[in-house]
Amino acid sequence: MSAVGEWLDIGPVDQLPALGARTLPVRGGREIAIFHTANGEVYALANQCPHKQGPLSQGIVHDTTVTCPLHNWRISLVTGEALGEDKGCVPVIPVKIDGGRILIGRAAALEGVA
């Protein structure tokens, strides 16, 4: 791994509420939402619903899905795809957990940064 590293450590897992999400602003880029599911998995998506850019971090998390707080679109935390009849996709940022810390993929996290 280079000095910069492929992964960014963004904090301990215990800072995420169960069945909830927290936000991670990226200066000059787009905000990321970090989700925590009932069975302890962690996912990261761009914090923007493909429909009307609603903040997905504020939605209700159930199974591996988040329901957007603005118009109830259901977005897969795994693929970023809108589920059901709705069509659209939100960027997924790779996540791994190492020693209780959340690591996210640097390249994906910084995408769009000028």
Binding site: L24, G28, Q58, V61
Partner: protein, 822 residues
């Protein structure tokens, strides 16, 4: 002439079903006596697992209650098993010494659990899983706490293990074979099952051979042949069953592994029949429920109608462990000429395997998605040629039948054969369900009542509803008289609310478990509903689940399209003062609110606040004496008033004062939906009280109360409820009405549709006519308010739930260090 005497030995599922089938064909043929060893009426033995798991009570699993025996003039001799049969003089002798003579005898003695004869198998604390006594012993052990070992990783063992772990025991399953349920599942499905059960906290040891059960007088643990030692206070033996043939053998009937019967279930004695798990037919014995239904039909046909002849059963298996769907049928061991069609979807945890030979389905194993189980099973039983649908077979019936079926899920049930089984728990075929519908049962509840289809575990509810839709066509309105809470459950709002109280369910996961939720943690429709129902049912006890709240209620502010929030402080009765106005102005400037707007409910709304700033905004507003206005909640919103007799030349009463009192009484109370109140000082109605959920119009002689109005998409004026003389009476009626709405409306019902559904007469009966009832409702409302009137803003301002407001961290790509913790 006296009727011939039919004696049935065995008051279990087979014995009673045989009697039911006979009665259905000829109710007057026999005088009937049933002997049973257990002290109970006939109950559904396959529902012992939900009973153990706490999902069902004994009453839920009763198949035939005492009234059934009485109505059909059947004498039930319970707790007095038959101990001898004398075929020469045609009598049976019970343990009590009672002797009865028979003309026809039916043996339905079932099967006994197999006990592996290891040392210690007779210690106290070693039980089987076969009847009510076993469940009682297991429940007592679970109450005492400690670890449990289940020996046997088959259907029964896994259901026992599931129930015990739900009851709080740490459970280890010992299975001698390398994979679980190896007789029903192939290796892949068995492995998925093991993973899923382990994820739920059970320990599964395969290839585990028990050497001994040890303990001083009672069980202390199990030792394996490889030396491993597992401490346990309870050991459940669930390694298998064998037909109970003791009586038949002593009576000299022909016996193999079970009691030999012919195609009409007649034993080697023409006057003696046998049915169920105790029989051997064509060299086969059965331990599942479906063959039993088929045998009972053939037995009754042979005895009192046109003999039909039993030709043996092809069996399928479903595991009743909620959330884990497993189905298997037929032969999947492979072999020459067999083709395997396999589909896996790891992300969704789905595995499907269909085995085809000579263009016929001969076996199927489904894990994770068992919806098409019945269809594969039907193809298998019918030996239908599947060459034409071979390519689409694995995707299920909807795909394989072509576009029409996939567009219309009911086409799938329409395509099922009449004898296809709909309800596995109660052995109900499609033909019987359709017959019941044709006979006038046109709702789900009616079908459940008259056929028992979908009345036990509920997993076939969708199929029954499909049949209702197909059979009734347009006459079936596509939904039950009452809709289900959401797609996660087949229960209605009313069912859920009733069961929460009956079963004393006090947490969301507990409700989902007890009511067989079909999703692991619900969805954004049912979680907020359950959260509200629990909050309403258990005031002061239930701890609100923030993550089951819609964003506005979780954040105590209204989310706007750009992701910022708007904040509305409470202004009692719409009255404010310079200090409050100054504080609002200061907040608007300090946090750069882009707009301040007067709302329809006489409040000020501050727009454009960022979620990080909300706690500081609230702290500033709190400091000026203001609390949350709940403009974001399914709760009391506002009490709108006019200036009334204090200022207005037309005012008849102090409408402002009554409005403030009303708001102080009702604020903070969560409800099924938002709730608005208004008090007008005279019939000119400047406060628009006649389009509110509860409206008061002051007149010279008192207060006119009306209910059930709203503006919104569908305008509805209020209905007049009653007139009262004093302010206190107006307040009491208001509290009672709100509490009735809180306790009985469906989540997200406003009062308008609720009042229309239940009718104004009903509301009047409860609030106006039933004085005692009204007083009780008012008291319950005030009790609940003791826990609700707590400003949520103050807690957040003090730092509660800071994770909801603060960023986890911030990434600054151009600065060093690149990451700054928030």
């Amino acid at each position: 002439m006296t009727k011939p005497h039919l004696i049935v030995i065995g008051n279990g599922m087979a014995g009673c079903r045989a009697v039911e089938e006979i009665l259905a064909r000829d109710a007057d043929r026999y005088r009937i006596t049933i002997f049973g060893a257990e002290p109970h009426v006939n109950y559904n033995r396959i529902m012992l697992s939900p009973l153990l798991a706490g999902d069902k009570s004994f009453d839920d699993i009763v198949i035939n209650d005492l009234a059934w025996y009485a109505d059909n003039a059947i004498e039930l001799v319970a707790s007095d098993p038959v101990v001898a049969i004398d075929r020469k003089i045609q009598t049976v002798t019970a343990r009590s010494g009672r002797v009865e003579s028979y003309d026809t005898l039916i043996l339905a003695t079932g099967s006994d659990p197999f006990i592996i004869p290891v040392p210690g198998h007779d210690l106290q604390g070693v039980v089987t899983f076969r009847d009510m006594d076993d469940v009682g012993a297991m429940l007592r052990a679970a109450d005492a706490g400690g670890d449990a070992v289940v020996i046997g990783g088959g259907l029964l063992g896994l259901e026992a293990a599931h129930g015990l772990s739900l009851r709080g025991m740490k459970v280890t399953v010992l299975h001698i074979m390398p994979t679980l349920m190896e007789r029903q599942l192939d290796e892949a499905a068995g492995w998925l099952l093991k993973e899923a059960l382990e994820a739920r906290g059970q320990t599964i040891l395969t290839g585990a051979d028990t050497a001994e059960i040890y303990g001083q007088g009672k069980v202390e643990g199990v030792r394996l042949k490889d030396g491993r030692d597992i401490p346990a206070a309870l050991v459940v033996m669930a390694v298998g069953i064998r037909p109970n043939v003791k009586l038949a053998r002593a009576a000299g009937l022909a016996i193999g592994r079970g009691i030999h019967v012919d195609d009409h279930l007649v034993t080697s004695d023409a006057n003696v029949l046998a049915v169920g798990e105790c029989v051997e037919h064509n060299g086969l014995v059965y331990g599942l429920v479906a063959p039993l239904w088929e045998m009972c039909r053939s037995l009754a046909d042979g005895l009192v109608a046109t003999p039909s002849g039993y030709t043996g059963s092809v069996t399928s298996t479903k595991l009743k462990v909620s959330g884990i769907d497993v189905f298997s049928a037929g032969d999947f061991s492979g072999g020459e000429g067999c083709e395997d069609i396999v589909m896996r979807d790891a992300a969704r945890g789905i595995y499907k395997r269909v085995v085809v030979k000579d263009d016929r389905v001969i076996g199927a194993v489904l894990y994770g998605d068992t919806q098409d189980g019945n269809w594969y099973f039907d193809l298998l039983k019918k030996q239908q040629d599947v060459a034409e649908i071979r390519d689409a077979l694995i995707f299920g019936q909807a795909f394989a039948s072509g576009g029409a079926a996939s567009a219309n899920p009911n086409a799938a049930v329409a395509a099922l054969a009449d004898d296809a089984e709909i309800c596995g728990c109660n052995g109900v075929s499609k033909g019987r369900v359709v017959g019941a519908i044709a006979g006038g049962a046109c709702t789900l509840d009616a079908v459940r009542a008259c056929t028992k289809a979908s009345a036990s575990c509920g997993s076939c509810t969708n199929l029954v509803e499909g049949l209702l839709a197909v059979t009734l066509g347009a006459a079936f309105n596509g939904e039950r008289t009452a809709p289900t809470v959401c797609k996660c459950t087949s229960f209605t709002h009313e069912d859920v609310r009733r069961l929460i109280l009956e079963k004393q369910l006090k947490a969301i996961p507990e409700v989902m478990q007890a009511l067989h939720w079909m999703t692991p943690d619900g969805c954004s429709s049912c979680r907020p509903a359950l959260n509200y129902y629990l909050l309403c049912a258990w005031p002061g006890e239930f701890i609100d689940d923030n993550q089951s709240r819609f964003v506005n209620e979780r954040m105590h502010a209204n989310i706007q399209k750009d992701g910022t929030y708007s904040v509305v402080p409470r202004m009692w009765g719409g009255v404010t003062n310079p200090k409050e106005l100054r504080a609002i102005a200061d907040v608007a400037e300090k946090y750069e609110a882009r707009m301040v707007k007067v709302t329809g409910g006489q409040r000020l709304d501050i727009f454009g606040i960022k979620k990080e700033d909300l706690p500081a905004v609230w702290a500033d507003l709190n400091a000026a004496g203001m609390v949350s206005g709940h403009a974001y909640a399914k709760a009391l919103r506002t009490v709108k008033t006019c200036v009334g007799s204090e200022w207005c030349r037309f005012g008849t009463q102090d409408s402002t004062g009554l409005g403030i009192k009303t708001e102080q009484m009702t604020w903070g109370s969560f409800m099924p939906h938002k709730f608005k109140i208004a008090v007008s000082g005279c019939p000119r109605n400047c406060a628009e009280a006649t389009i509110k959920d509860f409206g008061v119009i002051c007149v010279d002689s008192g207060y006119e109360l009306s209910i059930g109005g709203n503006g919104g998409i569908k305008l509805r004026g209020t209905d007049f409820l009653c007139k009262v003389a004093t302010e206190q009476e107006a307040l009491d009626h208001c509290a009672a009405f709100i509490q009735l709405y809180r306790e009985e409306a469906r989540y997200l019902d406003r009062t308008a549709p609720w009042v229309e559904r239940v009718g104004l007469d009903y509301i009047k009966a409860r609030i106006v006519e039933d004085v005692e009832g009204r007083v009780a409702l008012t008291a319950r409302f005030h009790f609940s308010q003791r826990f609700m009137q707590d400003d949520p803003w103050a807690k957040r301002a003090a730092g509660d739930d800071y994770k909801l407001h603060q960023h986890l961290a911030e990434i600054r790509p151009l600065a060093t260090p690149s990451l700054v913790a928030a």
